[in-house]
Symmetry: C2
Subunit: 332 residues, 2 copies
């Protein structure tokens, strides 16, 4: 038997298989095939990338030299370009603008062979500081409305280079999914004068069934309406709409929970490819009472079937309660 569950944030219905649910071992996981060749992200190859925008070095901070811990560079093959004016035009009934934006790569460690979860807590903190600093810097550019920070791990998650890295795209538009979240959470707030995400956190903390881990400032859980098997959300417990205003103490806790969550995914699910994305409010300077930033982690277990792509309607064969249990119980 299956259940139909409705996501309170987006209004989306998802079919969740209950009776013949799939556990961690029931999915095919693609192996990570090592590539050969010179890695442009490795220390000593700084000349192979565009000049750096930001780096974290101990001692002498000479740009584009080795000895960095994290390093941010423009993407060599950017989806959007930073130069030019933002022009909007109509073509008959269609609307268009030119592809203005920023596309940056956050190199997370000098060590080619490590994964984000293999770093120390302190090293992961430095990655989050890089996210924060680049977000704060880019919000000064009036052409941009949104800053998207995401990470692709593994070929089936779209990663084209192995060396641990995340990406940042500054956009002149608000992504559709975020726009929907904003719209729904605004209506919920109008009706109840409470943040829908805060309400959700309270319920998850009470239920405990879907909670994976938590610490003082953050909680990781499998969402009640998971679209994908073993999908995970990480939320700050304290209400805040904008990731880029994260505080020092919170960065410490976020690094710990993110690292441990990634280790649990690796251990429980046989090192699958995954994506994570930071969902945060648009750049408009104001703190919103109705939105709550968070991270969505989506391991790539199996393939998305046909109708999901064209309908926005998902079928998930692993109930989040089972996913949370498996990720909670695995030893790391």
């Amino acid at each position: 038997m299956a259940e139909l569950r409705k996501d309170p944030i987006t209004g989306r219905w998802v079919i969740i298989e209950i009776d013949k649910a799939k556990g961690p071992g029931d999915y095919e996981v693609e192996e990570h095939v090592k590539k050969r060749g010179v890695c442009p992200f490795c220390p000593g190859n700084e000349h192979m990338t565009p000049p750096e925008i930001y780096a974290d070095r101990e001692g002498d901070n000479k740009p584009n030299a080795p000895n960095w811990q994290t390093r941010v560079i423009p993407n060599k093959f950017p989806a959007l370009r930073v130069e030019g004016n933002l022009d909007r035009i109509g073509i008959g009934m269609y609307d268009m603008m030119n592809g203005i934006g920023a596309h940056e790569v956050i190199i997370e460690t000098p060590d080619h062979a490590k994964e984000l979860g293999d770093l120390t807590d302190h090293e992961v903190e430095k990655v989050i500081w890089a996210y924060r600093n680049r977000s704060l810097d880019l919000r000064g550019d009036k052409r941009f409305k949104y800053i998207l920070i995401f990470r692709n791990y593994g070929v089936s998650a779209g990663a084209s280079l192995e060396h641990p890295h995340s990406q940042l795209i500054a956009l002149p538009i608000i992504p559709k999914r975020v726009g929907e979240e904003l719209g729904f959470s605004e209506r919920y707030y109008e009706y109840r004068e409470r943040c829908v995400f805060c309400d959700m956190l309270h319920q998850e903390i009470d239920d405990r069934e879907r909670v994976i881990i938590e610490n003082k400032n953050f909680i990781a859980f499998a969402p009640f309406v998971s679209r994908f098997p073993f999908e995970i959300s990480i939320f700050p417990k304290l209400h805040s709409s904008d990731f880029s205003y994260i505080q020092k103490e919170e960065i410490v806790d976020l690094a710990r929970i993110l690292r441990e969550t990634l280790l649990r995914i690796k251990a429980a699910l046989r090192d699958p490819s995954y994506n994570f994305i930071i969902h945060t409010a648009p750049i408009d300077g104001k703190e919103r009472a109705d939105y709550h930033w968070h991270i969505e982690i989506m391991p790539r277990m199996g393939r998305t079937a046909g109708f999901e792509w064209g309908t926005g309607f998902y079928l998930n064969q692993t109930p989040p309660e089972l996913a949370a249990w498996a990720l909670r119980e695995v030893s790391v």
Copy 2:
């Protein structure tokens, strides 16, 4: 350089790469690996499937016997089940209903080794008749709000069995994407008193740049805001909101254009996996002036990268103008 284009139907922005666009040869296409073992959909194995719901046989129409051309059966592993009442419950702030629905398989030909594009026009017509007849039958069930017809071809598109087949799911809810299309097209209609899809067809027929093929009653084109490389839409030229009211003469033309489009995909793109989905109005008996049914075809070229999954924001490296040209020019 890239362009940002806004979909007039869903409000979605898509990044379209223009300068360093990828052509048909620039994508990795997964090979179709043949499976071994007995096929439950082949003639003579009718006892291996649940009892048939519908079949098209020449002469003696004895159920669950060979000699059929198309055959519809309940899915042996259904996402939703047809038995039971539709109960809605709340769990704290979450909404749920039990998984009531119908899930059927349309076996398109007795020939295991053929693809839908390899059938004769007349055989494809029979498949469309099966879609239509099952749609008309299921709309009598008051628990259902929507009938989703789709086809997965190839393992990377989610097909688990090779024998040519499509699927039908009758749902107690309206899929999110369709709900969005309905909402946007309703607003467009309120403002202009015209169907947004009809306006789009007029512009595409005038422009011709994105048109692939057409006949008297149907047109196939690459949408101006294609989310995926080589995405194709097939529309009836005459306004109609509901697929299940398709007329006999239209079925002849739809079979021809669908078959030729699939052959062109196979020839131009080296036989990729693909999904197609019929987008039609919800079951409510009324013909809508503001909605226009259509088929979306999505070849699986390469992989979807990370941020597309979590943001509803897409990056497409093949402009639809190039896709249409390649699909138009290939000889079939």
